[in-house]
Amino acid sequence: MAAQTVASTTESTVDLGPAAALSCRECGHRVPLGPVFACEECFGPLEIAYDFSAYDTEELRKRIEAGPANIWRYAPLLPVPADVATKPNINPGWTQLVKADNLARELGVDAGKLFIKDDSGNPTHSFKDRVVAQALEAARAFGFTTLSCSSTGNLAGAVGAAAARAGFRSCVFIPHDLEQGKVVMAAIYGGELVGIEGNYDDVNRFCSELIGDPAGEGWGFVNVNLRPYYAEGSKTLAYEICEQLGWQLPDQLVVPIASGSQLTKIDKGLQELIKLGLVEDKPYKIFGAQAEGCSPVSVAFKAGHDVVRPQKPNTIAKSLAIGNPADGPYVLDIARRTGGAVEDVTDEQVVDAIKVLARTEGIFAETAGGVTVGVTRKLIENGVLDPTKTTVVLNTGDGLKTLDAVAGTGLTATIRPNLDSFREAGLA
């Protein structure tokens, strides 16, 4: 079953709720809903165009608030069928928005103004469950039975778990040298897990070629041919943050950048809430966070460029190690449009930030969370981020996935099992 064949035969029957068509973000060319991801006119990214015209603001708000405690409460705003909550899926989302007063004190932010959106609470412990849940519904709609992806680790686990739940085959591709924790967390779900000798960009290139080959026919690559649907899952972070703040926009958000898709979709989600009248229209700033060892977007932002020059990644923050970020130019646009910025921190600062977040708030973040907290601190120190404004910092994954990053953290003391030994160790 070739991808293009699927596109042409399902356009009139596919039920993806309010999703009306695919529209090129670059040139506006529209095509019917289908498993295609790049514009045939200009290669630009296709994204979902919706028809929200029938919604009454207050009815929509009530419908959302009465919905399940997962992303499907926002089904009226997503490319999914209305009965999505009844289908076998991993049902991620509605993760904690933690008021981080201890961290605020440490960073010099006003009390009550700093929040961590802790997406380590998802079923496979990263935000990737949100996007995969979306992609799974698209795969179902287009008749695929195999889920696949290129992954820096977190996505591999999310795809494996979603495929297991839904009864799909999964075959996912990762760089061969990923953290062991992520390899185990991806392999445990029983799908095929293939290491590629190369970095993430090499893996991504391979998957993009596989999709055009007969060997990849009938496969739903969540972040390639299903990417327009998959990416929409990140909008739910914006929806949840605003609803959890009492249907208010935050003043500032700090978001990690890998491909840049998450940041661009958070912005899209905020804009949709404004247009639908679910939040008051007021300015907000979006800040992007990268590790110095893979900082193509940060470098471009600081240089004033509107294109991103690819880099060869070299950082412990492997979940963000995409040297050729597909949505990089859009991140630059959004950071500049909203008055935000893109900043990067060293691996040493990442590790320190992981420890600070754990020590102050009891949240053990993976390296990507160290990047956002580290960048938040740097932006405050540089006077770029306003410590008096409501700020939401994303933690997109669980520290248990990247234990190597904090290797050496361990016992305070080893003592004999008696009180004298306890006192001698200075623990009394």
Binding site: A38, C39, F43, N223, A231, S259, V307
Partner: protein, 91 residues
Amino acid sequence: MSVTVRIPTILRTYTGGQAEVAAEGANLGEVIADLEKNHTGIAARVLDDQGKLRRFVNVYVNDDDVRFEQGLETATPDGAGVSIIPAVAGG
């Protein structure tokens, strides 16, 4: 220099559905010009109005991303494989 060019799905309307085609040229720019001779219209999909690679197109000569090499001036040795790939994947 004769090379093999892998064509992405969205450009196969220009190659009669072929996933791989042969082309001639000592560098990438020449290869694309030769592709255009045999598959009219394909160059305008890969290059922008200024004749540069579109920003959402990745091109590899063998395993090397030409953006890390010399762009359209990247040499295409005899027998090389050239891949044209949409850049919007991944993440």
